[in-house]
């Protein structure tokens, strides 16, 4: 199992300003955990929140193999991320004070509202027989795609490019309502075999992916070309073309490719 990821900011933004996050963990037992999150650009510190979310949910899934099967357990992990955010934010505010850059009046209302992000996490467990069991949980419109024999087998949780809108489900760092979060979590699992591929994508790339697949194209080929070689510069140039041609919304882009080889 080979994993690789690429992350590119919106056109006109620096890599530091990218508010997507990706995190991949190879567990000693041979399984792989991967997560992507998309921080909402209206928020302050959305990238930091997205990063904390991906780390927290992969840790939770590593420690408890039911987290990605059970919406309530996944929601509990999201609440834990929010609790960790409280501590992180206190340190951030103290650091700003220490650097003589206290929180400005225009930052405070957004800090009070807390950052928002979508999140998707997946686990891949390879069996000695060659079968890989996978499970995924998501809140919002970051997507997982499963490909086999140059075909798209599964898209989750969104199955059509038309289904993307401007109001995806989001996890707020101050939301402690586990029941509410659980109602918005979607989870699914399946099996895969050698040669299959998985792509975890944030929304703009996912919408492009589904649109291209619906037109009979094979978008995974182009993506795999960049992920397999880790060609960030080539991917950035290719994205600029896709955006300029109106094929993809100008948004932060993240992809994690899990190649079962």
């Amino acid at each position: 199992m080979v994993t690789s990821s690429l992350r590119v900011p919106k056109q006109g933004h620096t890599p530091r300003e990218c508010e997507d996050a990706a995190h991949v963990v190879a567990v000693p037992d041979g399984s792989v955990l991967a997560a992507v999150a998309d921080g909402a650009s209206e928020s302050l510190l959305a990238g930091e929140w997205a990063d904390l979310l991906t780390r927290t949910v992969t840790d939770a899934a590593r420690d408890d193999d039911r987290v990605l099967r059970d919406a309530d357990r996944f929601a509990a992990a999201l609440v834990r991320a929010g609790q960790a955010w409280g501590g992180w934010l206190a340190e951030y505010v103290a650091k700003r004070e220490a650097e003589d850059r206290p929180i400005a009046w225009y930052e405070q209302p957004k800090l009070d509202r807390g950052p928002h992000a979508t999140v998707l996490a997946a686990r891949f467990d390879a069996d000695p027989s060659g079968v890989t069991r996978w499970e995924v949980a998501a809140l919002g419109d970051s997507c997982l795609f499963h490909t086999r024999d140059d075909e798209l087998l599964r898209a989750f949780p969104i199955e059509s490019a038309a289904a993307f809108d401007n109001t995806p489900g989001l996890v707020n760092a101050f939301n402690r309502d586990q029941e509410l979060l659980a109602r918005h979590v979607r989870a699914v699992s399946g099996t895969a075999s050698g040669g299959d591929g998985f792509f975890l994508c944030t929304d703009a790339l996912a919408a492009w992916f589904l649109g291209a697949a619906q037109r009979g194209e094979r978008p995974w080929r182009a993506l795999a070309e960049f992920t397999r070689t880790g060609d960030l510069d080539g991917f950035t140039v290719w994205l600029a073309h896709a955006r300029a041609e109106g094929l993809m919304r100008n948004d932060d882009v993240t992809v994690v490719h899990v190649d079962l080889g």
Partner: protein, 277 residues
Amino acid sequence: MTYAAEISRANPSCFVFLVDQSSSMSDSIGGGQQRKADVVADAINRLLAELSVKCAKEEGVRDYFHVAVIGYGHAVGSAFTGPLAGRDLVPLSQVAEKPARVEKRTKKVPDGAGGLVETTTRFPVWVDPVANGATPMCRALAAAESLVSDWVSRHPDGFPPIVLNLTDGESTDGDPAGAAWGVQTHVTADGAALLFNLHVSAANAVPVTFPDTDVALPDAYARTLFGMSSLLPPHMRFYALQQGVPAGDLARGFVYNADITSLVQFLDIGTRATDLR
């Protein structure tokens, strides 16, 4: 499709607020207690604060917009007070960093148990209320046109400038229709500059919001301002409808006899961007 250009730091847009500062602005608004000048200054300060918060990121406020506030009364010129006094179009980051002062104001918020509790908030001030002199609306619109013309020549592909004129309606330096048309003749690849008018009347007449005809308007001043107003672009109509404000296909960016709530709502709808990147 027009009025759909992306607004980014590389492709910013601009707002020009024209604020009537004539002596009649000391009258109370819509038959109520508050002076028109106070209500208008408060609304603009609130809007500038909300814009700053909306565009705030960790590294500061992003310059998605440049903003001018032009007062017209005993003179025509920048209505900024404090460090920005005398400036016309100012990048939003500088607006956020340089209010004249930050006041503490109290407001009541829900206490979570069904009641209200008083809390203090920081209220930055850039524009003070002024009510002095005549109403040189033609000169004010000419000043706006000059800013718009320069902006469009420097940003030919950008989201068109938006001019918001807040007035009690009676131009004293001629018919403003020609000067208003002049503003709207400046066009980017994304559309013509937009001119919206807000008529704050002292009369206790029924408010009219985003009308598509002038038949319900009570006087010639209101009808003139209606005729000077641009059609609301589709995304603003959509946002108005989301806010529960009816706005048909031919709705104009015009509000008559606004109270403070509809004034703030007008500014919010009139400055709503399609897409900030």
